[in-house]
């Protein structure tokens, strides 16, 4: 028996080393496993699928058959599964831990929704099957539409937009179509608060509107006087996020709605933050004309590392007629799909996407809604707002909140508490990574300096929040105590440390190239 064995697994005090400096022969560090690119793992002669032999039949590819290979690596299934499993282990998800990424609503993704989306009756049907063979799918879309309309109080909903930004495009095109129908295409100016998400101005500009920014007040809300001063006969719409990106409810929203309507414009509401009010406040009661809903935020369809999303748009009576194709209509208990501008859909502005929308996301969202019900969704908004205010109350001494509370579903701090510490918002976020958290949203919204936007969501318990609060206070204390170097070198415990974004942008390498090709290029 060796000396080490007698330790029975306990390591001696002398053996305590700093994890960050551990070097190994393999390059792996315990559970942190290095993994090459899939292209560096291939070997001719392997196969990851077993396919039947092709039947003998004439070749009809003509002269256009591929000549030469594609350049893909050959691997067997175990290698592929291990490769992607190892990659997954370099990721942080909601399942891994607390993910307070403001404005992104990283709430728990129930697995029931995944199971429901995989029912063959939803997953294995084709969008162009005869309508008589997909009545259940159309019923699901119609049921989801009913829930969305009831929760928002709006009379119509366009289901096909593929994501939030696509929904914005849909809503703004509907507004443009409605203006054209009124003979008021000269209305080309869209008012967008400075705190808006970047997609708002990008969307407005992409369909030929000019973007006119509205300043914020010292209270983090739309400057009502400045907004009213900008109204005029050329104004098409206001694009307003509510609750806004500072996590605050726009108190003057009814007055804003009345004023824009009075000036002949429309009220586009960015519904990215609907999670804060779902079930408790109906956007229709706020004077909204249209609003997109990010199913992957409020209704918990998974973010999936950046999509797929789904962005249905609810529409007021003034805009409903212009909704995009296809329309699903209920005719005496049987569903029809209008795929051309005809019948009820005669004034539709046209098609936005092939087929009918993000069906897989619809199933997940409805599964989530049915699970919560009207009472549960009420509680979703209540707990989301409660959790955010608890963080605000617990951190406002140590951090700097630019605006007075209460907040809604997320809480905003600026970086003034870090003044003269040499620690930036970015450094602070990276230090949080070493503490085992996904950082908050950094540097957004742009209306405060060094923004830190924290959204806990309703699916976190109090113990998790308390632990996070303890860590946040400790980090703030450490920064104020002058230990800037610890922040500048963070994170130290991750599969990779800070990555050189300047190098990536100056000399972009966007794909792997085979070694021979790379040499030839040099």
């Amino acid at each position: 028996m060796t000396a080490q064995d007698r330790s029975q697994g306990r390591h001696s005090r002398d053996a305590v080393v700093e994890l960050a400096s551990v070097e190994t022969t393999s390059g792996h560090r315990g559970l942190i496993l290095e993994e090459p690119l899939i292209f560096e793992l291939g070997q001719p002669g392997r196969l990851g699928v077993d396919l039947p032999d092709a039947p003998k039949a004439p070749n009809r590819l003509g002269a256009l058959a591929r000549r030469g290979g594609v350049g893909l690596p050959d691997l067997a299934e175990p290698q592929v599964v291990r490769h992607f499993t190892r990659l997954s282990q370099k990721n942080y998800g909601i399942d891994s831990g607390f993910f307070p990424l403001g404005s992104c609503t990283m709430k728990h993704n129930p697995r029931l929704n995944e199971r429901m989306a995989r029912l063959p009756g939803f997953a294995d049907i084709h969008p162009l099957q005869p309508i008589s063979t997909v009545q259940g799918a159309l019923e699901l879309i119609d049921t989801l539409a009913h829930w969305l309309k009831t929760l928002t109080g709006m009379p119509a909903v366009a289901m096909s937009p593929a994501a939030g930004a696509h929904g914005e495009f849909c809503g703004m095109v509907a507004i443009k179509a409605a203006l054209a129908a009124r003979g008021e295409s000269h209305r080309t100016r869209v008012l967008v608060p400075e705190s808006a998400h970047g997609t708002n101005p990008a969307t407005a500009a992409s369909i030929g509107f000019s973007v006119d920014p509205i300043p914020a007040t010292a209270e983090g809300r739309v400057d009502l006087a400045a907004f009213k001063a900008k109204l005029g006969p050329d104004v098409a719409a206001i694009m307003l996020t509510n609750p806004n990106t500072c996590g605050l409810f726009e108190r003057d929203i009814r007055e804003i709605a009345d004023a824009i309507h009075g000036a002949g414009g429309y009220f586009y509401c960015d519904g990215a933050n609907f999670n804060a009010i779902v079930g408790r406040v109906r956007p229709a009661d706020l004077g909204v004309d249209c609003m997109h809903i990010n199913l992957h935020k409020t209704f918990s369809t998974p973010h999936g590392g950046g999509g797929p999303g789904s962005g249905p748009v609810v529409l007021s009576d003034a805009l409903a007629a212009y909704a995009p194709l296809p329309w699903i209509v209920n005719r005496n208990g049987s569903f029809a799909v209008l795929e051309a501008a005809e019948a009820e859909a005669a004034h539709s502005f046209g098609r936005l996407k092939a087929f009918h929308g993000q069906m897989g996301m619809f199933v997940r969202a409805l599964s989530y809604m049915l699970s919560h019900g009207a009472d549960g969704l009420w509680q979703v908004a209540s707990d989301a707002v409660l959790n955010a205010n608890y963080i605000l109350a617990s951190l406002k001494e140590a951090f700097s909140a630019p605006f007075d509370g209460p907040c809604m579903h997320e809480v905003l701090f600026d970086d003034s508490f870090l003044k003269d510490t040499g620690v930036s918002t970015l450094d602070f976020a990276k230090a949080l990574i070493d503490e085992g958290y996904h950082p908050m949203t950094m540097y957004f919204p742009l209306v405060v300096h060094g923004a830190m936007l924290i959204e806990p969501t309703e699916t976190e318990d109090k113990a998790t929040l308390d632990k996070f609060i303890t860590v946040m206070r400790a980090l703030a204390e450490k920064a104020k105590a002058g230990d800037a170097e610890a922040f500048h070198t963070a994170p130290r415990l991750t599969p990779r440390r800070r990555l050189d974004e300047t190098l990536a942008a100056r000399k972009p390498v966007l794909r792997w190239s085979p070694p021979k090709l790379a040499q030839a290029a040099e």
Partner: protein, 127 residues
């Protein structure tokens, strides 16, 4: 930072303009490059292109920000800094020297009166 010559004028958009006769060389200021951070990409106008004062003439990008370079004065592009797109870090290392963007032959020299001198510009940046 190199000494700013008296023939140099500035715009509120943090561009400098060095006037030699009827020719104006244009770049961004030390202050602007500090605000941008590491410059990773520069897009220059075509020689011969004509711009009215204030129109977008070039683009400069860092990792996290993109900025338009406006023609500080009306005129025709007479030359561009050919080496800059391949070596955008010059904007960081020598913004008011080798990191220049383009030269314009002025069509309306009276516009010069609207630009700031160094003292005014330093007041503008709060320096």
């Amino acid at each position: 930072m190199s000494t700013v010559k008296s023939t140099v004028k500035f715009t509120a958009d943090h561009e400098w303009v060095q006037i030699t006769g009827n020719l104006a060389r244009v770049g961004i200021t030390q202050y602007a490059q500090e605000q941008l951070g590491d410059v990773v990409f520069v897009e220059l106008p075509a020689v011969g292109a004509t711009f009215a004062q204030g129109k977008e003439a070039a683009v400069v990008e860092s990792v996290k920000a993109a900025s338009d370079i406006y023609a500080p004065l009306s005129g025709t592009v007479a030359a561009v800094n050919d080496g800059l797109p391949d070596n955008p870090s010059l904007v960081n290392t020598d913004p008011q020297g080798d990191g220049w963007f383009f030269e314009i032959t002025l069509s309306n020299p009276s516009e010069l009166d609207g630009l700031m001198d160094e003292t005014a510009y330093q007041a503008h940046t709060g320096a």
